[in-house]
C-alpha cells in the first residue's frame, strides 16, 4: 500500500497539486486506521489528507480513478492477505473476451444482442438501478469500444465509439416519454428533462469508468495517469482551451477575481500609515495631561491607478481578452477608473457596458454583440487600432494612467505604426503588453511583438489564469 501511495502522490505532484511530506505521512497513517476494502472510504481519506483546495478535487479524482481502479484495490487486498471478494469476476471475464467489434452486431462476449442491450440500459436508467447500469456499461464497452491491448489510443476514442453506437439521444427521448405525465406545466417538464439528463450522464460516467479500468489493466496505472492527466484550471492554456476546459476556466475565474479583490483591499488598508493626525493626537494627549505620548496617524490614501485596457477581440485571442476584461473589471474598485476598448481592425470603447452591469461576465458577453470593432476585413490590425485609439483618446491619458494592451501582436502583415505607441508611452505612466502566446512563438510569422516592445514597460507572457492573476495583482 505504501508503494502505491507513494506513486499516487508522485502523480498528484506531477499534476500540480502541492503535497507536502507531512501530508504524505498523514495519509499513510490514515490508511492504517481505515477499512481498505471500502473504496469510497479510501477515496475520502486520501482526499482529506492530501488535497487542501476544493479546486484541486477534480484532478485528484481523475488520478484516483486510475490508481485505485476497482481491480487494483483488489490486488491491495490480496497483498494484505484479506479475503478478496469475487464480485468483479464476471466483468473480468467479459473484458477478456472483448473482440474487435467493428460496429454493431459484431463481437461482444456475452449473449446480449444489440436490442437486448439497449433494452437493458433503458430499464436500468428508468429504475435508477446502479448495479444493472454497471453491468450494462460493461457490456456496452465489450460490444462497441473495440479495445485492443497495447493500442496507443486515448480513452476518449473508445468512449466516443461506445457512445456513438448506443444512440443516447434516442434513449433519452424514450426515457422522457415514459416518464411523462399529462399534467404539470413547463416546470414539471424541465425537471423531468433534467432528471433524464442526469441519468444519462450517470451512464456515461459508468462507461468512462469501465474503459479506464480496462486501460489500466492493459497499460498500468502510471503510464495511463500520465496520458489522462488534466492540468489544474489555473494552469490551463487559455488560448487552446477546449469547450470543457473553457467552462472550467469560467468557473475558476469568479472565485479568483473575488479573492484577488479581497487581497488587494486588505493590502491597501494595511499599507504604511499616513501622516500624523494632529487633531486626533491632541485629543488623545488630554488623558496624559497634554503630553502627546500616543501619536495618531491619518489613514493612508495611496493613489489608485487609472487603467486603460485595449484588447484584441479577434477570433484567435478573444477568450483571453474576455478573461482579462472580466478580471480587471471585477477588481475595478481597486482602480480610480477603468476604461476598456476592444478592436479587431476598428476600435470601440466598451466601458459603458461594464458600468451598467452588475456582473462583469454579462458585460463581457455583450461585447461580441454590441461593440463595433470591424472596419474592413475582420482581420486584426494593431497599427490601425492604435492610430484610432491615439486620435480619439490619447488626450485622456495622464501620468496616472496605465495602458494595458492585450493581444498576440499578429498583425496580418499590416503596418505596425509603432510610433503611435511611442507617443502613448510618452503620455502615460506605463504601458504593458500582455501576450497570450508562449514566448517561443513571439516574432514568428506575422507576430511583431519586437516592434512594439521598446515602447512598453514590459511585454508579459500571459497564457494561464495564474499568470494573469499574478500580473493584475501586481498592477493594483
Amino acid at each position: 500500500m505504501l508503494n502505491l501511495l507513494g506513486e499516487f502522490i508522485g502523480e498528484l505532484r506531477a499534476a500540480g497539486i502541492p503535497v507536502s511530506m507531512s501530508e504524505h505521512v498523514d495519509a499513510a497513517r490514515a490508511v492504517e486506521v481505515i477499512d481498505l476494502a471500502n473504496r469510497s472510504m479510501v477515496r475520502a481519506t486520501l482526499a482529506a489528507t492530501l488535497v487542501k483546495d476544493g479546486d484541486h478535487l477534480p484532478v485528484f479524482h481523475a488520478a484516483f480513478e486510475v490508481f485505485f481502479a476497482l481491480r487494483s484495490i483488489e490486488s491491495v487486498e490480496d497483498l494484505l492477505n484479506e479475503a478478496s471478494n469475487a464480485e468483479r469476476e464476471s466483468s473480468e471475464g467479459a473484458s477478456g473476451a472483448s473482440g474487435p467489434g467493428q460496429g454493431r452486431g459484431q463481437g461482444g462476449g456475452s449473449g446480449l444482442s444489440a436490442n437486448e442491450l439497449a433494452e437493458h440500459l433503458f430499464r436500468a436508467l428508468l429504475n435508477g438501478d446502479a448495479e444493472a447500469l454497471r453491468f450494462g456499461a460493461s457490456e456496452a464497452v465489450s460490444r462497441y469500444a473495440g479495445m485492443e491491448p497495447g493500442r496507443p489510443v486515448g480513452g476518449t476514442y473508445y468512449l466516443y465509439r461506445t457512445l456513438r453506437n448506443l444512440e443516447l439521444d434516442e434513449l433519452a427521448q424514450r426515457l422522457l416519454e415514459s416518464g411523462r405525465h399529462d399534467h404539470g406545466g413547463e416546470l414539471a417538464e424541465r425537471l423531468a428533462r433534467e432528471e433524464v439528463t442526469a441519468r444519462i450522464e450517470q451512464l456515461k460516467a459508468e462507461i468512462e469508468r469501465e474503459i479506464r479500468e480496462r486501460l489500466v489493466e492493459d497499460r498500468g496505472s502510471r503510464a495511463l495517469a500520465k496520458s489522462v492527466r488534466k492540468p489544474l484550471p489555473e494552469d490551463l492554456d487559455v488560448m487552446h482551451a477546449n469547450r470543457d476546459e473553457m467552462a472550467q476556466l469560467e468557473r475558476a475565474l469568479r472565485p479568483l477575481s473575488r479573492k484577488l479583490a479581497v487581497r488587494l483591499a486588505r493590502k491597501r488598508r494595511r499599507r504604511r500609515r499616513g501622516p500624523v493626525d494632529l487633531r486626533h493626537t491632541v485629543r488623545r494627549s488630554l488623558s496624559t495631561g497634554g503630553v502627546p505620548i500616543d501619536l495618531r496617524f491619518k489613514p493612508p490614501r495611496p493613489a489608485k491607478p487609472e487603467i486603460f485596457v485595449i484588447a484584441d477581440v479577434s477570433g484567435s485571442v478573444a477568450s483571453f481578452a474576455r478573461f482579462t476584461l472580466h478580471l480587471v473589471h471585477a477588481i475595478s474598485s481597486q482602480f480610480s477608473k477603468v476604461r476598456s476598448f476592444v478592436f479587431v481592425d476598428g476600435l470601440d470603447e466598451v466601458t459603458a457596458l461594464f458600468e451598467g452591469a452588475e456582473d462583469p461576465a454579462d458585460a463581457v458577453a455583450r461585447i461580441n454583440a454590441e461593440a463595433d470593432v470591424i472596419a474592413f476585413d475582420g482581420h486584426s490590425d494593431y497599427g490601425r487600432a492604435l492610430v484610432s485609439f491615439h486620435d480619439r483618446f490619447a488626450k485622456d491619458l495622464t501620468k496616472r494612467s496605465t495602458v494595458l494592451i492585450l493581444g498576440d501582436a499578429r498583425n496580418n502583415y499590416h503596418q505596425a505604426h509603432a510610433e503611435v505607441l511611442a507617443d502613448l508611452h510618452y503620455r502615460a505612466k506605463a504601458v504593458y503588453w500582455l501576450n497570450p502566446e508562449p514566448t517561443s512563438y513571439w516574432n514568428s510569422g506575422d507576430s511583431i511583438v519586437n516592434q512594439y516592445a521598446p515602447y512598453c514597460e514590459r511585454v508579459i507572457e500571459c497564457r494561464t489564469l495564474r499568470q494573469l492573476e499574478a500580473f493584475v495583482g501586481e498592477l493594483a
Partner: protein, 305 residues
C-alpha cells in the same frame, strides 16, 4: 508499520494519564450518530469526521454558504455529548479576543488591596508572581477549549476572515494542542478536543494552516440527500413533495445565480408552476436572480408576488 497510534502519541506528548478512547467505532457509526442529531451526512463527511477523531487532527471544512459546515460541528458536539466552544472569526480579531487576556482591572485591585506601608522588593516579587496567575486571566475560546476538562468540540468559524498574522496564532493549538503564555509557560490540553474550522474561501488560507488540518469539501448535496434533509427538517412533509423541492432546487443551481439556498415550507401536496413562482423569493436573495430563474424555469418572465 509499528508506528504508534496517533492518539497514543499525542496523549504521551500532552502528558495525559490515559489515552482517551476514540469517540467513534467506524464511519458508519458517525453517520448513525449524526443522523440521530438531525444531521444527514454523506460518506465523505462521515469518513473525515471519523478520521479526525482517530488521527486527532483538526478538520478544515470548505464549501458554498449554507451547506451545513457549521451545523456539522454542532451535530458532532451533540452526538458525542460534548460542549461546543465557538470562536467566530472576523477581520481584526486578535490574540486578546481569541486566546487570552490579562484582567488588568483585577490585577490593579489586587495591587492596591495588598499594598502594605513601606513594602520591600521581596514583597513586590511576591506580588508580581501573584498577579500573573491563572486567576487573573480571562480565557478566550481557544484557551478555554484547551484548558477544559469536560469533553469539548472547538469550532473556529469562518477562519478566512482573519488576517494571515492572526491565523498563525492558531497553528500551535492546531498541531500541538497547547498554548504558550509568556508569563505562565505552556498550557497543554487536558484531553484531546475535536477541532473544526470552517471557511467560505474568500481568501487563500496559508499552507501552514492547511497542512495541519484534514480537508473536507462540503458541496451541494446530491438530490437524494437533499430530499432526505428536507424530510427530516420539515415535519409532516410528504416524500413526493420533498423530492420535487429537491428537484427544483437542483434545477435552480444549474442556472447561474448569485445565491441559491435550500429549504422551503409549503402547505401543498405538489408543486405547480404558480406555487413555485410564488416561493422563489424564499430561495433566492437577489431580485435579478429571481427574474432570471423565472424566465429559465417557466419560459417567460412574470412578476413575482
Amino acid at each position: 508499520m509499528s508506528a504508534l497510534d496517533p492518539r497514543e502519541e499525542l496523549a504521551q506528548r500532552l502528558g495525559l494519564a490515559r489515552v482517551p478512547p476514540p469517540r467513534f467505532e467506524s464511519p458508519a457509526e458517525v453517520q448513525k450518530l449524526l443522523a440521530e442529531n438531525d444531521y444527514l451526512s454523506d460518506e465523505s463527511i462521515a469518513s473525515v469526521t471519523y478520521l479526525a477523531d482517530r488521527l486527532a487532527k483538526p478538520v478544515l471544512i470548505e464549501g458554498p454558504a449554507g451547506t451545513g459546515k457549521t451545523a456539522l460541528a454542532r451535530a458532532v458536539a451533540d452526538s458525542v455529548g460534548a460542549r461546543l466552544i465557538r470562536l467566530q472569526c472576523y477581520e481584526g480579531l486578535d490574540e486578546s479576543k481569541a486566546l487570552y487576556e490579562w484582567n488588568y482591572r483585577k490585577q490593579l485591585l489586587r495591587i492596591q488591596a495588598g499594598r502594605p506601608e513601606g513594602a520591600g522588593t521581596e514583597e513586590w516579587h511576591h506580588l508580581e508572581e501573584d498577579i500573573f496567575a491563572e486567576e487573573f486571566m480571562l480565557t478566550r475560546p481557544l484557551l478555554e477549549a484547551i484548558s477544559a476538562t469536560d469533553p469539548v468540540v472547538l469550532l473556529i468559524d469562518e477562519v478566512d476572515r482573519v488576517e494571515l498574522e492572526t491565523e498563525a496564532l492558531m497553528l500551535e493549538i492546531l498541531s500541538e494542542y497547547q498554548v504558550s503564555i509568556p508569563e505562565l509557560g505552556t498550557i497543554r490540553a487536558k484531553q484531546i478536543p475535536m477541532v473544526f474550522l470552517t471557511s467560505n474561501n474568500t481568501r487563500e488560507l496559508s499552507e501552514a494552516l492547511k497542512r495541519r488540518c484534514l480537508y473536507l469539501y462540503v458541496g451541494y448535496p446530491s438530490i437524494e440527500r437533499e430530499r432526505d434533509i428536507i424530510l427530516s427538517r420539515v415535519p409532516g412533509i410528504s416524500s413526493a413533495l420533498a423530492e420535487q423541492i429537491a428537484a427544483v432546487v437542483r434545477s435552480l443551481r444549474t442556472i447561474d445565480l448569485k445565491k441559491a439556498r435550500t429549504l422551503v415550507v409549503l402547505g401543498r401536496e405538489e408543486i405547480g408552476d404558480e406555487d413555485a413562482a410564488a416561493t422563489l423569493h424564499i430561495l433566492l436573495k437577489y431580485q435579478s436572480d429571481i427574474e432570471r430563474a423565472t424566465k429559465e424555469l417557466f419560459g417567460r418572465s412574470r412578476p413575482v408576488a
